[in-house]
Amino acid sequence: MRFHLLLILAAALVYGAARAIGLDYVFFAGYIVLQYVALATAWNILGGYTGYMNFGVSAFFALGAYTTVALDKAFGLPLPVMMLAGGIVSGLVGLGMGYLTMRLKGIFFAIATFALAVVAETFITNWDYVGGSSGAYIIRPVKGPLYGTYIEYLFLLMLVVVVVSLAIARWLERSRLGYGLAAIRDDEVAAEATGVPTLGLKLIATTISGALMGVAGAPLPFYITFFDPSAGFNLAYAINSIAMAMIGGTASWVGPLVGAVLLATVQQVATVTISSEINLLLVGGLLVLFVVLAPNGIVGLVQGRWRWRR
């Protein structure tokens, strides 16, 4: 309980600081940073906690966004509702993916997730209602429903998503479920033999992970106002999520937060000062560096070589 209060307080401070600076750019850039915190945290639930590497991040992310595109076109619902819908859609896809890949491990699982992302992209590209390969335009209102600009509203929404994601991740870590996932990660055969319902827990992990990614992706059409498949289905989301979680440290909820804040901020700065291509070079380079030299990530470095639960 105390943690949650602190978390909300921290979020309020972040929001307050952003407002105080008063530049729209802060909200624009901040939104992206927050989006990646949510993505990295969501990825880590399946990747770091359970040991299953998901390369199909873009599928869940983009499906959340496309849910918004479709619902906005059909009904024009309030964005928070569409975000929940995006979460449900991507959560169901996560459940389906978990079921289809249940007997796959390691690289085979990773490749299957990669394949799933391409299949999802192919289907969306062929679905004209949401614009197919040509894309769709989303009208972004100028003013937010509360006060201030719409972009400030998007920033606030994403802040909420981040708070929820971090709370879920931390709760998972300490719960019975979290222990089960750790057992699966360390030795799935032994986990099954000690009573852990490995399939059921894996399905829970893929569903939660997918749902959070979907929620993180849902507001994006309003952010960029023109949404085509390449905006959502981009392998960059996968490498970013993976790199941020692994560079930050996959053992706890703090890792993806640290990794995402650092990496996303650096990328925003680099985009403005150098070029936008350099981002992926940085991400790739740092990922390789950390994976070779500091496999436990920044959190791992700070905490010493070996980390175990309290």
């Binding site: 019975r176 089960g180 750790a182 032994a190 033999a193 000690t194 009573g195 639960r309």
Partner: protein, 246 residues
């Protein structure tokens, strides 16, 4: 010790492609009984254990536990019913502490047998109990990789015991241990049996398994060739030829 049947394996068959690993194996274990299982390498002992515990599915035959057919159940369900196994090569949860390794079966396998997984204090006490039982209390906070060979074996056993089994399958728990270490593990298993836990001991160390078992079964090339009191089985000419003559 009651004579009621706890585990009943009937005409169990398992093949891998063209290779027949188990060919119509029968095995019966009564509640609280101590059964030894021996056989040369490649005879199918591990396959049998895997089929009983649920790591593999048998092709033919059946496995019954406490009167209930379990060969369709997944491994974790069988563990929850009270069927625990230790692994030949210890498989600890590497990123968890020794204590947390024991926590897992307490949270899961033992959950259905009155172990309340919400009661943190009770679980902590139980973990300490189990650590004491195997003499690992001092190393509770360490990582599994810091343990010695015999300590890893003990952790492996402790984890199986934590599941509160009615039947424990100890798969070569003493391999590679010194004489005194073998005695330690033997004493531990006997103590467990005194509490009413049936034990299937799979071993190559003949003197240990003969002195431990009330009944000895011999598996050769996927077929059970002997099953009876250890003294008699050991003197059986087929057994001598197939196994002891090596």
């Amino acid at each position: 010790m009651s004579g009621e049947t706890l585990l009943e394996v009937a005409t169990l068959g398992k093949r891998f492609g063209g290779f027949v690993a188990l060919n119509g194996v029968d095995l019966r274990v009564a509640a609280g009984e101590r059964v030894g299982l021996i056989g040369p390498n490649g005879s199918g002992k591990s396959t049998l254990v895997n089929c009983i515990a649920g790591a593999l599915r048998n092709d033919t035959g059946s496995v019954r536990f406490a009167g209930r057919r379990i060969d369709g159940l997944s491994g974790h369900r069988r563990a929850r019913l009270g069927l625990a196994r230790s692994f030949q090569l210890p498989r600890p949860f590497r990123s968890l502490s020794v204590a947390d390794n024991i926590r897992i079966p307490l949270l899961y396998a033992a959950a259905d047998r009155g172990r309340d997984h919400h009661d943190g204090a009770a679980i902590a006490r139980r973990i300490d109990e189990l650590l004491d039982l195997v003499g690992l209390r001092a190393k509770g906070g360490r990582a599994p990789r810091e343990l010695t060979q015999v300590e890893m074996r003990k952790l492996e056993l402790a984890r199986a015991i934590a599941a509160e089994p009615k039947l424990l399958i100890a798969d070569e728990a003493m391999a590679g241990l010194s004489h005194s270490e073998v005695d330690e593990v033997l004493a531990l298993l006997l103590r467990l049996n005194e509490r009413g836990i049936a034990i299937i001991m799979i071993e190559h160390i003949l003197h240990a398994v003969v002195s431990f078992s009330q009944r000895l079964a011999v598996l050769v090339a996927g077929v059970k060739i002997a099953d009876g009191p250890p003294r008699d089985v050991v003197r059986n000419p087929d057994v001598e030829r197939a196994y002891l003559g090596e």
